[in-house]
């Protein structure tokens, strides 16, 4: 009979950490299967249906990519802030403000041609989202306000502001009193890529992801950011401009979430309405953690999470599994993958009794 000892790993796991993640995902799938079995649903068939619904056809993959776009941009945004250990929980509000900014441009300049209007909307979304990120940054620096609380509270303000506009001044007179703006003009709608259902928001994701990666990897500023994130006091000692870095990441973070709002309003809804808010800003936090703040992994995690959500709809349609099951699966996956993270840092060792 031995005793189990927890030991910190001396060397990083490297490629084997992939195995840990896969193992964790496997465990969560098995647990989900057991849950399905308890509800008298055939677990294996259910998993096949889930998989087919998410990735089993060209249009399913298209659907997942479309859904992954706003998750990716929000998540990339919060990851930038998290790198500096700034806990931006406000992607939801920054997303709302971005959608509001883009909509303002679309509604006030409907007659501009697309090559002026779309960049204008993107700029407006960038400024509005960035502004919403700037406020908590300034409050943190000048008044030592906790950014977690401030960004969280500002989400509610942003959503209520969006509601105020859509129920009031921006309401479409032809909507029978229902809260929605008029449909955007053609030139304010982000187009589709070729014959697919995919929109150019996907390209925006790729460009932003690449830029963020290059920024952290190859620029001095990116290096300073990472260093400050590792140890704030050391960074201050090294005279790194911590305050300015906080402002930079919060504005960038907000602007990226704002762009997600821009793409959602323009490409998928073609207008602004309250139902644009479905919690991508909160999902983003989960995704950023699952992906360990790496732009490429965030892309993968966004796609897989979108796939899970799309696949669960198929599961509902075929086996009438409750919608809550999707959330349970999401929770299980998050839990097991994060718990699995323990094994990439530590290892267990069986020590024989002396």
């Amino acid at each position: 009979m031995g005793k189990i000892r927890v030991m910190k790993r001396q060397e990083p796991l490297g490629w084997r950490s992939c195995l840990v993640v896969l193992g964790a995902a496997g465990v969560s799938l098995v647990l989900s299967g057991i849950l399905l079995g308890l509800q008298d649903r055939p677990p294996l068939t259910a998993m096949v249906i889930l998989f087919q619904g998410a990735f089993g056809s060209a249009w399913a993959i298209e659907d997942c990519l479309i859904k992954a776009v706003p998750i990716y941009l929000c998540s990339l945004g919060v990851a930038v802030a998290f790198r500096l250990q700034i806990w931006n929980i406000g992607a939801e509000g920054q997303f709302a403000l971005g959608a509001v900014g883009a909509t303002a441009a679309a509604l006030y300049f409907p007659d501009l041609s697309w090559f002026l209007l779309l960049p204008g909307m993107a700029l407006a979304a960038f400024l509005a989202g960035g502004f919403w990120g700037l406020i908590p940054a300034l409050l943190k620096i000048h008044m030592r306000a906790n950014e977690i609380i401030v960004t969280l509270m500002m989400n509610y303000i942003a959503i209520l502001f969006l509601d105020y506009l859509v129920y009031g001044v921006w309401k479409d007179p032809a909507s029978f009193g229902f809260p929605m703006t008029p449909t955007f003009s053609e030139s304010a709608i982000v187009g589709r890529i070729g014959d697919t259902n995919l929109n150019w928001g996907l390209a925006l994701c790729a460009v932003c992801g690449l830029l963020v990666w290059v920024f952290f990897r190859y620029t001095l500023l990116g290096y300073e950011l990472k260093a400050s994130g590792e140890n704030v006091r050391a960074a201050r000692y090294a005279r790194l401009p911590y305050e300015r870095l906080v402002i930079l990441v919060m504005v960038l973070s907000g602007a990226l979430a704002g762009w997600a709002g821009f793409i959602e309003a323009s490409a998928t809804l073609n207008r602004l309405q309250p139902s644009i808010m479905v919690g991508y800003g909160y999902t983003a936090i989960v995704v950023a953690w699952l992906a360990r703040l790496n732009p490429l992994y965030i892309g993968l995690a966004s796609f897989l999470l979108a796939g899970l959500r799309v696949g669960v709809e198929n599961l509902q349609l075929e086996l009438q599994v409750p919608a809550a099951f999707g959330q349970i699966m999401e929770g299980l996956i998050l839990l097991t993958v994060l718990a699995g993270g323990f094994f990439t840092e530590y290892r267990l060792r069986l020590r024989p009794r002396p």
Partner: protein, 359 residues
């Protein structure tokens, strides 16, 4: 299971392969697949529950197969869900929330052979009709009960969103209450949620704190009912008979009964006689009704309410008949006139005696 599905699919394809001439003769369908899309979970005793009960009823019909997806947000997600139903060869799709209107319109354009029915909206297409019920008639009756039972003359109304459907219901409720108790006031709180038990319960408590002693609701959760039960005051349910959640408090509930309507549409689609139309049925077709009135309500009040219901059914009484003033005292519907349907569908003002704003 999968094998069976493949065989069925192959069989369906063989069956679908008919000579063109035969197809031209009739659009009759022996077997149809029907999809429902719901905004909230079906187990909530509310809006989606009522639709789902009707879904179960039509599934018992011959040659009808149904399925549903629940808790679908009203944005782009709903478009994908409907798209997938159409891709999977569903013949008829019911979308049961207002926000599904534009997504459904987009999908309908891409699948001209599928029949789409949208609940509570106003847009149609050659293969997309819409439907709703005159819930305000039942709300008026429930308002009569509330007006007769209040002692503080203050009725609380926990409401979802300031859209015409909800505003119309509040107005009808207030008019009903005032018809038996001219002093009755209706205080409105907006939750901006359709289904959020905790928020809706809190909203009800805030109304109780300002003196309301009957709580009515336009919400899909029984939260407000529970709040009324805990404080020992009365409540008016909604969607379905909610007396099980608040046995002491519950007086009556305006309820939905979608079964007759869904059966009618299924029959039409099967017979190939379906046409794109807008349906707005009322008490006379039983699509809306009130649940049994509680014994706590005096017999004479109950009789009065049921008499009024008979009048509405016989079309000798119309709820929105003038003179009706708005909150500022301005006459909106002149004496001797009834509001036209277009006016009701776009209603964005409160009647006199309602305390709250429509913003």
């Amino acid at each position: 299971m999968i094998m069976k599905r493949i065989v069925l699919l192959a069989l369906a394809m063989v069956l679908a392969w008919q000579p063109a001439a035969a197809e031209e003769k009739s659009n009759e369908k022996k077997n149809i697949k029907i999809g429902f899309i719901y905004v909230s979970p079906v187990g909530d005793a509310g809006w989606s529950y009522a639709h789902n009960e009707a879904r179960k009823a039509i599934e018992a019909m011959e040659g009808v197969e149904t399925s549903f997806v629940e808790s679908v947000p009203e944005g782009p997600d709903s478009e994908r869900v409907m798209l997938n139903m159409a891709r999977k060869d569903f013949d008829l799709i019911f979308a049961t929330s207002f926000g599904y209107m534009d997504p459904m319109l987009k999908v309908a354009k891409r699948f001209p052979d599928t029949v789409f029915m949208h609940c509570s909206g106003f847009k149609t297409a050659p293969n997309m009709g819409n439907y709703f019920g005159r819930m305000y008639q039942a709300r008026y009756l429930s308002g009569m009960v509330a007006g007769a039972m209040t002692r503080t003359d203050t009725l609380g109304y926990v409401a979802a969103f300031p859209i015409p459907e909800v505003i119309r219901g509040i107005n009808a409720f207030a008019l009903g209450a005032q018809s038996v108790n001219p002093e009755a006031k209706v205080r409105v709180v907006w939750t901006k949620t359709w289904y959020d038990p905790a928020t809706e319960k809190e909203a009800a408590k805030s109304l109780l704190d300002v003196g309301a002693d009957v709580i009515a609701q336009h919400q899909d959760s029984p939260g407000p009912q529970e709040a009324a039960q805990q404080r020992g005051v009365y409540s008016i349910g909604y969607n379905t008979d909610m007396s099980q959640f608040a046995p002491e408090a519950h007086l009556v509930a305006p309820v939905w009964n979608w079964t007759p309507f869904y059966k009618e549409i299924v029959r039409q689609v099967k017979a190939g006689s379906w046409e794109s139309k807008s349906y707005w049925w009322g008490l006379e077709k039983e699509i809306v009704d009130i649940s049994p009135i509680s014994d706590k309500v005096p017999a004479d009040v109950r009789k009065k309410v049921l008499d009024k219901k008979a009048d509405i059914i016989a079309d000798t009484f119309t709820v929105f008949t003038g003179p009706i003033k708005d909150q500022q005292g301005k006459v909106r519907i002149p004496e001797g006139k009834s509001a036209a349907d277009a006016e009701l569908l776009g209603m964005d003002w409160f009647v006199e005696g309602v305390i709250g704003t429509t913003k």
